[in-house]
Each structure stands twice: as structure tokens, then as C-alpha cells.
């Protein structure tokens, strides 16, 4: 079966920030029937474990100064990239699939390293999260925009996000419906490989 690498900021049971952890788990469990899914996420220690049939690689991300969220994002990326080469086996992944901009930063570097396309799942945008008020972080938004530009495909998990991105990115943007649709998207990238 084909290998797919999912990169997430949270994944149960070791790192749960909100509903996203459960949504991603549900998604990768659904995909596992069709693909070999490998998940990478930060957590309180560095270890490999199994979630049912899914191989999960957790890297330790604690103990660094959280001066602001941008610095935190870079520390998270740094911690993943200095640890993953020693725990995550190299495979001929079909796709690197990142969830949200935080793991997108890691995903983009993995995609360039493994020379594979990046799919970026977007659940919300900085502009929405900040309600377009003075909490808007232009830094986060600029990183988010860069990742959207660089991703081979953007999967929107929210119709509002889809409406906001469709105009700029056209056919590169899809509104997520179900696992079967995601499988078809992966198969499209697989081309003759399967």
C-alpha cells in the first residue's frame, strides 16, 4: 500500500489542544483502510507508538521559551526537524499532508526534503481567528499565505475558508467532504504510481 505522511500539531492522546486532534485522528483512521498512514506530531516526549494500525512518531517539543507565538512556531519546527531524521523512517511517501499553518511549516520542509507534494489542510485563517480586529498577526498571516502559495493542494475544512481562498487559488482548492473524496485527491497525485 502507498505511504502517506500526516503532520499535525495535535493528536490524541498525548497532545490535545482542541477538537482538531480528534478530527485528524478520525480522518487518518478512515484513510488507514486505503493507505499506510504515518502521523507525526509534537508531544511531551520523543517516541514511536501505534494508534491501531497507524504508525505515530511523536517528537518532544517542551522546554523552550515561548516568547511569542511566532517564536514558538519556529521552535516547534526546529524541534521536529532535528529529531525526526532519527526516528521517522524514510519512505517513498506519496503525499505530505499538513494540518493548519503550524504543522504546515514542518510539512513544507519535509515535502522539500522528500521531494514530494504538500497538501495543506486549512480549518481557519488568521484573519478569521482574529475576527479581523487588532489581534490580527500580520506575521502569522504572511506565513500562512506563503504556505498556501507553496502547497500543491489546499484542502478547506470550512466553507468560509473555501470561499475566501477559491478566488485566488482556483482549482488548487477543494472543500473537504469525506474520506472518499480525500482518497480520490490522493489518487490524483499518485498518477501512474498505483
Amino acid at each position: 500500500m502507498t505511504d502517506i505522511l500526516h503532520v499535525s500539531w495535535e493528536y490524541p492522546p498525548y497532545r490535545i489542544i482542541g477538537q482538531l486532534a480528534w478530527d485528524i485522528q478520525e480522518m487518518v483512521r478512515g484513510l488507514q483502510k486505503m493507505f499506510n498512514v504515518v502521523v507525526v506530531h509534537p508531544g511531551p516526549l520523543t517516541k514511536r507508538y501505534r494508534d491501531g494500525e497507524i504508525d505515530v512518531y511523536m517528537f518532544h517539543d517542551e522546554g523552550y521559551p515561548k516568547r511569542n507565538f511566532i517564536v514558538y512556531a519556529y521552535e516547534l519546527t526546529f524541534n521536529s526537524l532535528i529529531k525526526l531524521p532519527y526516528i521517522l523512517p524514510y519512505k517513498d511517501y506519496l503525499i505530505i499532508h499538513s494540518h493548519e499553518w503550524l504543522s504546515g511549516m514542518i510539512g513544507l520542509i519535509l515535502a522539500r526534503t522528500f521531494k514530494k507534494p504538500l497538501i495543506l489542510s486549512v480549518y481557519s485563517l488568521e484573519r478569521m481567528r482574529s475576527s479581523m480586529n487588532n489581534m490580527l498577526s500580520l506575521s502569522i498571516e504572511s506565513i500562512e499565505n506563503y504556505l498556501l502559495d507553496e502547497a500543491a493542494h489546499i484542502l478547506c475544512h470550512n466553507p468560509e475558508v473555501f470561499n475566501m481562498l477559491q478566488g485566488k487559488y482556483g482549482g488548487k482548492v477543494t472543500l473537504y467532504r469525506d474520506i472518499d473524496q480525500l482518497r480520490d485527491l490522493y489518487l490524483k497525485f499518485a498518477g501512474n504510481r498505483l
Binding site: P65, V71, Y74, Y86, I87, Y90, L108, S139
Partner: protein, 401 residues
């Protein structure tokens, strides 16, 4: 051997001596047959050019918005990683990654692990040394990145014995990990400059001898100490045949101007601001003496440039300059008391023969010890020994990149 240098400055974007160091080091490494890439920042968009057989890739760090200097550096490093991975894909991965200071530590360390390539760091100065300690959160982060770079690097290069001690103390490194490689100057670039006959008129009156300061206008470079010394020379020793020319710029400039006004020296001090290398070397050639009263100076490339131009120099009797100069041979080593500097200046002004002898000695020393050709050969030797060691070590890594 393929070497990738990561540097936040490279000509024409120069902030201090680091950019010039990287330019000449890479130029001479290429001359010695190395395949050299440099990734650096650009203020005018992404670009590529070949400079003296070195491939220079400039990336645009302003793709991302930054909230402060540290996030600007992190943004820049992230983009450098992506660029280096693209290069690795297109041209093959480097054998050595060489980073300069904490400013490229993030990308250097990540690339070391992702590509499985030995890392070398040159620590040009430390945050503790620059500021006399760690006093803020931002400084703590910079210090942490310096420590990380020195911890992750196969070898740590510093420019003087003074810096060996400082780095050892600041980062608790084993001594065998640290190697001293001094800075250098490209003598030909200085020798080829011929000052215009009327150049001196732009800076001083015909009877005035130029006392020259070159450096950023920051506390650690001590330009204020020189103004104090110059005040003593003019107002206490009543020497009217002198002009102080201060080259450079920086946050201390307004204070320096106020100091000059307070002492009534406005006709005797000339602030040039930043000037080109050509203008600087020409100015050095018409000056009488160079004074570099740094409170903190790991090395001091400007001192070498002044010496190569034939200037006797007055430098601190500690730090990197202390190791370059032989007292009363190429100049004077002084404590930073303005009176002592003023007396040494007076000594030179009263003894033109001594000044000329020191000038000849200074030039000779540079040609013998501080050429980039020699320094580049030295660093290539370090790379070779690191690669030999790396080949013997077991480095378990799961990615075939």
C-alpha cells in the same frame, strides 16, 4: 569538496565585518578549488549571481512580516532552509555547512540534521561579550542560539585567543572543539587604491594631520573615548594641527556629535557617515594614525585594513587587537584612559620618523600573516579533517536525502 556558507550579510549588504569576512573567505576557498555556495539575504528581492567563482543566492526575508529582530532572523532562516533544500535537490548536497554567528544557527542546525552534513560555525563575537552580559529576554535567546550552534557544530572557529577563552567560558565547550583562525585582508584591493591628489582637502586643512576612527558608532567600539582623548590633545596639549575623522554610523552618533559640541571641537571633527571601501582605503592612505579604542573587540578587521594601508594604529591592550599588534612596533597598545591615548597621539605627532617606521612594519606584518589566501587554506584544512573524522564516526540517520 562542496561547501555551503549561510550568512546574513554579504556585499553589498554590509553591516559589520562579518559580510566582508564571508566574501573574502569564500572567494579564496573557491580559488583553492572548493565548490562554494553562499545563501544570504537581499533587500531587493530574490536573485542569483556568480561572484568570484562563488555561487551567491540571495533570498528575500521580507516575504514574511516580522515583529522584532529575532523573528526577522527566524523568518530569514526558514527561507534559507527551503533554498538550501532546493539547491541540494538540483546540485547535490554539500559536504560541509559553514555558518557565521547565531544569525544563521537555526538553518545551519536544521540542515545538518536533515541532510546529514557536518556543521562548522564561526563565532565572530558573542552576545555576552558585545553587551557585557545577558540583560534581556532577546539577548537570552541570542545567547541560546549561540550556545546551540557551538554545541551542534563539529568545530567552532574563532578569530583570536581572546575569543577562545570567551567562547569556552560562555558555552562550556571542550577546548579541542575550538580552533583559532584569524581574520585577514585582501592587500591587493587596498594597494590598488591611489588617493586623488586633492583628497585630503575634502577632510582637513593642509596643515592638519588626520587621526582616523573607523567603526560602528556603538558603545563597544569606544568612539566616545577617542573624542575625549582628542579633546585633551587639542584643548590641553594645544595641538591645532590635527583633525579627527570618524567613519561609520550607528545609534551613538547623536551622542558623539553632542560630545564634540560640548568640547567646542566642531571645526576639528569630521563625521563622514558610511563610505565605500574605495573611499575608506583612500582615506586610510592619507591619514596619519588610526585609533581603535574598542571596549570589546574579538578581532578588528578595520585594524588590519588600516595597517595594510600603512597606518600606525593605537589599539586596546586586551582582546583581539592585543594579539595583532606588537607594542611600539606597528603602533601602541593602550588602556582605554583618554589621557594615555592622547599622550600616544602626541608621541606620534612629535615623531614623524617613528610614525613612518611603524607604517612600514604594519604593512609588512599584514603581508606576512594576515592574507585571505593563507586563512582560506587553513579553513580548507579544517574541513578536510572534519570530513575524515565524520567518515569514521557512526552517524545513525534514517533519511536518504
Amino acid at each position: 569538496m562542496k561547501v555551503l556558507h549561510l550568512s546574513w550579510e554579504y556585499p553589498p549588504n554590509l553591516i559589520g565585518g562579518l559580510g566582508r569576512h564571508v566574501y573574502y573567505l569564500t572567494k579564496f576557498q573557491a580559488k583553492h578549488g572548493l565548490d562554494v555556495d553562499v545563501i544570504t539575504n537581499s533587500i531587493s528581492g530574490e536573485s542569483f549571481e556568480i561572484v568570484d567563482n562563488v555561487r551567491v543566492y540571495r533570498i528575500n526575508p521580507f516575504v514574511f512580516r516580522s515583529i522584532d529582530f529575532v523573528t526577522w532572523i527566524l523568518n530569514f532562516n526558514y527561507l534559507m532552509i527551503l533554498k538550501a533544500l532546493n539547491l541540494s535537490k538540483e546540485e547535490g548536497k554539500p559536504d560541509i555547512i559553514h555558518i557565521h554567528d547565531w544569525l544563521t544557527a537555526y538553518s545551519g542546525i536544521v540542515l545538518k540534521h536533515v541532510l546529514k552534513v557536518p556543521l562548522i560555525v564561526t563565532i565572530h563575537a558573542t552576545e555576552i561579550g558585545r553587551r557585557g552580559g545577558i540583560w534581556s529576554e532577546e539577548q537570552r535567546m541570542i545567547h541560546e542560539w549561540e550556545w546551540r550552534a557551538s554545541f551542534e557544530a563539529w568545530k567552532v572557529i574563532v578569530c583570536s585567543n581572546y575569543m577562545i577563552n570567551e567562547v569556552q567560558k560562555a558555552f562550556m565547550l571542550p577546548s579541542e572543539k575550538i580552533i583559532k583562525v584569524p581574520n585577514a585582508v585582501e592587500v591587493k584591493d587596498i594597494e590598488k587604491i591611489v588617493p586623488e591628489p586633492d583628497l585630503k582637502e575634502k577632510y582637513a586643512l593642509p596643515y592638519e594631520k588626520i587621526i582616523l576612527f573607523v567603526g560602528r558608532h556603538v558603545y563597544e567600539k569606544g568612539p566616545d573615548i577617542l573624542i575625549e582623548a582628542f579633546n585633551i590633545l587639542v584643548n590641553q596639549y594645544n595641538r591645532q594641527d590635527v583633525k579627527l575623522v570618524i567613519v561609520g554610523d550607528g545609534p551613538m552618533k547623536e551622542y558623539l556629535v553632542s560630545l564634540v559640541n560640548r568640547y567646542g571641537l566642531w571645526e576639528k571633527v569630521y563625521f563622514t557617515g558610511r563610505i565605500s571601501d574605495e573611499d575608506l582605503f583612500a582615506l586610510m592612505k592619507i591619514a596619519y594614525v588610526g585609533v581603535f579604542p574598542s571596549r570589546y573587540e574579538p578581532f578588528g578587521i578595520a585594524i588590519l585594513e588600516a595597517m595594510a594601508s600603512g597606518l600606525p594604529v593605537i589599539v586596546p591592550n586586551f582582546g583581539g587587537p592585543n594579539e595583532i599588534i606588537e607594542h611600539e612596533v606597528e603602533g601602541f597598545k593602550v588602556s582605554l584612559y583618554p589621557h594615555e591615548i592622547a599622550e600616544r597621539l602626541l608621541n606620534l605627532l612629535n615623531n614623524p620618523e617613528l610614525r613612518d617606521k611603524m607604517s612600514i612594519n604594519a604593512k609588512k606584518k599584514i603581508k606576512k600573516l594576515y592574507t585571505w589566501d593563507r586563512i582560506a587554506r587553513f579553513t580548507v584544512g579544517i574541513y578536510r579533517s572534519v570530513l575524515k573524522e565524520a567518515a569514521r564516526k557512526e552517524w545513525k540517520h534514517l533519511w536518504e536525502t
